[in-house]
């Protein structure tokens, strides 16, 4: 592959910076996508739809506490 990367300076960090500057150019997103997303956002009610993670977290903690208490109770009962 004999192309621009062999231009002087690529071995040096300064040369690498030069190549990064010239090659990393912004791309333009599809205007249709940009416009349709804008429309979707402007018609989206500002309501956060949570996926129930909080409830799930509470349930896990609850189950953990219950299991712990049950284990303690069983152990005490056994030692009695």
């Amino acid at each position: 592959m004999e192309h621009g990367m062999e231009q002087p300076g690529v071995h040096s960090l300064w040369g690498l910076e030069e190549r990064l500057s010239s090659l990393l150019e912004p791309v333009t997103p599809d205007p249709e996508f940009v416009e349709s997303l804008k429309m979707k956002l402007s018609h989206t009610p500002a309501v956060l739809i949570e996926t129930g993670r909080r409830k799930l977290g509470l349930l896990v903690v609850g189950i953990g506490l219950f299991a712990g208490a049950l284990t303690l109770w069983l152990l005490r009962r056994r030692s009695d």
Binding site: M5, L20, L24, K40, L41
Partner: protein, 198 residues
């Protein structure tokens, strides 16, 4: 639309648009969207290399930002920096969910844009760019992010420090290490490609 609201929307700036967007003003959010959509898309596109997935993730970034804009105010960082943080997290999730390897196959390629230049020159530049992007995507996520913010967005170390939640000194140091790593990756890829340009 009331007269007051019209006047407000007409006089939107980056600062007051955020304040208004927090109150649920969709025009203000649209303004913020227009100011940032291209840079967020670019950031994601260069991180993952797929136009379709970049569109999907860009949409998710703005939906999430819209849903959580009140949380942004609490953190007190520039709005753009906050969007980049969301984009960074969603990109990381994307890699995790797709079970992608960080190391990119040489068969992977980017849909690179053309700029009306001579076909030979365009092809040459695209090959060169593809090689560079492969090398960038082999770097750890924070180094990829730093390089893209530096060269795509032309941001200063100070601005990048805010976005990445580090000190300016740490960014300077990471930048130097990132360039060295990138040079090594380029050498390695060139070796695989049977070229000796590095």
């Amino acid at each position: 639309m009331t007269k007051q609201k019209t006047l407000t929307v007409e006089s939107l700036t980056d600062d007051n648009a955020v304040r208004l967007a927090c109150t649920g003003n969709t025009e203000a959010f649209s303004y913020l969207y227009e100011q940032n959509v291209k840079r967020i898309y670019n950031y994601i596109y260069y991180r993952i290399g797929s136009g379709a997935d970049a569109e999907d993730l860009t949409a998710r970034v703005f939906h999430r930002a819209f849903a959580h804009i009140n949380k942004y105010v609490e953190k007190g960082v520039p709005f753009t920096a906050w969007l980049y943080r969301i984009a960074h997290n969603l990109t990381a999730n994307w890699y995790r969910d797709n079970n992608r390897r960080r190391e990119v196959s040489l068969d992977d390629h980017f849909d690179l844009p053309h700029h009306g230049e001579l076909p030979e020159r365009t092809m040459e530049q695209n090959q060169e760019k593809e090689l560079l992007l492969k090398a960038i995507r082999r770097l750890p996520a924070d180094r990829q992010e730093l390089i893209l913010l530096k060269f795509l967005e032309d941001l200063s170390n100070g601005q990048i420090a805010v976005i990445m939640g580090r000190t300016e000194g740490a960014i300077k140091s990471l930048y130097h290490r990132s360039l060295i790593s990138l040079r090594e990756e380029l050498k390695q890829i060139s070796g695989i490609d049977n070229t000796s340009n590095y």
